[in-house]
């Protein structure tokens, strides 16, 4: 893939340098990366200026160096009995377990509903009703049914991730060009052949896009899931620190959450490229 990508960029940058002779020769760093870096730099500088000048109450917006110090301290000494990596590990375990379950159940369900009209008609009322429900509304009930342990947390994350994946899988399967299906059928393909050699490869890219969105949804309910009776996890750490007005820990936790989310998404994209290079 990387070979292809560099083939794409070389002619463009060569073309640009030819047109503007005064243009700086920095073709190795794409413009988009430069612009993104600029955004981050402006944000950080703004944060530093606002806090250094004392325009913001330090209780609400601590200085960048205070947040960094909180990061270092949590990495080495930990926060309330667990280091940052342990907190992160607890959260990632919850997210990845719930997300894997959502994929294992959501994708087959979506494929079945996409291929069979009857299955769609049977299950649609359930999915359509449940899809717009806010997951937090369900959480109180989940805690009552499943208790305060891991199962209610995993269920909440699972339920947050499921509808996105089911719906995008249905869409992916129904948007497969019927010509492919007929062509395969005329060559004597069985249902099984159709599923594994036509539907899944053709719908794969859209399913993966749905998985990425679903992972994002799972991520957004993490803090909520860890509010009830957790004693480790990034979400719990943020919640607990907020109770004691430790805003440096809160902001540090949010940054770690955000960056982890970006990394997870990059991994998902990498997997997509590996599995489906035709996309």
């Amino acid at each position: 893939m990387s070979v292809e990508a560099s083939h794409m960029t070389i002619p463009i940058s060569a073309d640009r340098t030819r047109r503007g002779s005064l243009r700086l020769r920095l073709p190795k760093v794409p413009r988009s990366v430069l612009l993104s870096t600029l955004t981050v730099a402006v944000l950080l500088a703004g944060w530093a200026i606002v806090t250094e000048r004392g325009w913001a109450n330090e209780l609400f917006l601590p200085k960048p160096q205070a947040v960094w110090a909180a990061f270092v301290k949590t990495m080495t000494k930990g926060y309330q009995g667990a280091t940052l990596l342990q907190h992160l590990g607890a959260s990632l375990y919850r997210i990845l377990t719930a997300f894997t379950l959502a994929c294992l159940i959501g994708i087959p369900l979506g494929v079945i509903m996409g291929v069979s009209r009857n299955a769609r008609a049977l299950l649609n009322p359930l999915i359509e009703f449940y899809r717009p429900l806010p997951p937090l509304g369900l959480y109180t009930l989940l805690v009552m049914w499943l208790g305060i342990g891991e199962s209610s947390k995993l269920s909440l994350l699972f339920l947050a991730g499921l509808p996105g994946i089911v719906i995008s899988t249905i869409q992916a399967v129904t948007s497969v060009d019927p010509v492919y299906v007929r062509a395969a059928q005329s060559l004597g393909a069985t249902r099984r052949h159709l599923l594994f050699h036509v539907y899944l490869p053709a719908a794969g890219p859209l399913i993966l896009a749905g998985m990425r969105i679903s992972l994002g949804f799972t991520y957004t309910v993490l803090v909520a899931a860890e509010i009830v009776a957790a004693s480790a996890g990034i979400g719990w750490m943020i919640w607990d620190a907020a109770k004691f007005l430790l805003s440096d820990i809160v902001i540090m936790g949010l940054i770690v959450l955000g960056l982890t989310g970006v990394v997870l998404d990059l991994i998902m994209r990498g997997i997509a490229k590996l599995l489906m290079p035709w996309a």
Binding site: L59, F60, Y79, Q80, G81, V143, M144, G147, I148, G149, V228, A229, A230, S231, W236, D240, A242, K243, F244, L245, L246
Partner: protein
């Protein structure tokens, strides 16, 4: 010409004075009250605050615990609030713009540690390997850790969970937890379903760890409308007096406010210590502006404890906690 100028000046002055007067009256007063059993419910139920502040829109907001109250204060969502001593120590250390003006209640057995009877827990030493719940950052979380420390029991030898009081009751009924230190009105539900009281907050007070809730006012509000702070205190003092003089009617009010059977309300009332307003100015409580009382000691030792728990960055000098306690408004209301 001169006359006209003087007349204009006079009119302007009048108008300005009137404007200043109008500013002295807030359009809306928001009172955040904790979900506890105390005389604030009486004040609210009898509309005593509205009587003191005619024409002001009064809004009561029920707030689950100290952590939420701190957030409400930090977010400037309330004008008056109530805080237990640990959140107060946190707020004072983090320089939240509030002052403590009134004793809301002293905590006796309205806050207790409940343990499951079938688990054979007779002392804190039996807690090893058990699951214990308390709302983190609250008075009971503080007392739980203090009690464990005094008995020499390592908190790491058990599972201590952070749960809101209503979640504790639900988890208890499901059998997820073996013990919990929290407060009424939910405490009674756990005692009724297989629980017994092991330690009360009142017993801890006798051991030197008093816990209480203090009424606070936002500094900005107090600067802008000082007379309304007096009115607030007056209303709350009337509520406390009503509580002390009319226990039967008070029980009815509490029962109605919290949707409880009347016997439960009566029991809970006995577990709460209400302090008459004139007594609040004694050494035992707020003290006077000239000589602050024991509340300062409690705040200093609570803050010290929280620093050791790494929940607070540093212990402030005593003077900062003295500055937080402001008996001046109450002194004015009582007429000293």
């Amino acid at each position: 010409m001169m006359k006209r100028l003087i007349a204009t000046l006079a009119v302007t002055t009048l108008a300005l004075t009137a404007a200043a007067r109008a500013e002295d009256k807030p359009a809306k007063v928001t009172v955040g009250y904790l979900n506890l059993v105390n005389a604030q419910l009486v004040t609210k139920h009898l509309g005593l605050l509205a009587k003191e502040m005619p024409g002001v829109d009064i809004k009561y907001v029920k707030i689950g615990g100290g952590g939420d109250m701190l957030r409400a204060i930090a977010g400037n969502d309330v004008d008056f609030g109530g805080l237990g001593n640990p959140p107060t120590a946190i707020g004072a250390t983090r320089a939240l713009p509030i002052k403590g003006i009134l004793v809301i209640n002293m905590l006796d057995y309205v806050e207790s540690m409940v343990v499951r009877i079938d688990k054979n827990i007779t002392s804190l030493k039996d807690f090893k390997g058990k699951t214990v719940a308390a709302p983190f950052g609250s008075t009971t979380h503080y007392l739980l850790l203090q009690a464990l420390k005094d008995e020499g029991v390592d908190p790491a030898s058990m599972k201590i969970l952070d749960l809101a009081p209503s979640d504790i009751a639900a988890a208890w009924l499901r059998g997820d937890i073996d013990a919990a230190w929290f407060w009424e009105p939910n405490l009674g539900k756990t005692v009724k379903s297989g629980g017994k009281i092991l330690v009360t907050s009142g017993e801890m007070a006798k051991r030197g760890y008093p816990t209480w809730d203090i009424g606070v006012v936002m500094n900005a509000f107090a600067e802008k409308y000082p007379s309304y702070v007096d009115k607030f205190i007056k209303a709350e003092c009337d509520g406390i007096e009503f509580w002390l003089k009319n226990p039967e009617k008070t029980a009815e009010i509490i029962a109605e406010e919290l949707s409880l059977p009347i016997e439960d309300a009566q029991r809970m009332m006995k577990g709460t210590g209400m302090v008459p307003c004139n007594e609040q100015l004694t050494e035992e409580y707020l003290g006077t502006s000239a000589k602050k009382g024991k509340f300062v000691d409690t705040l200093v030792s609570t803050a010290d404890f929280l620093v050791k728990q790494e929940r607070l960055p540093k212990l402030l000098p005593r003077a900062d906690f003295e500055a937080f306690i402001q008996p001046a408004y109450l002194e004015k209301v009582i007429g000293r």
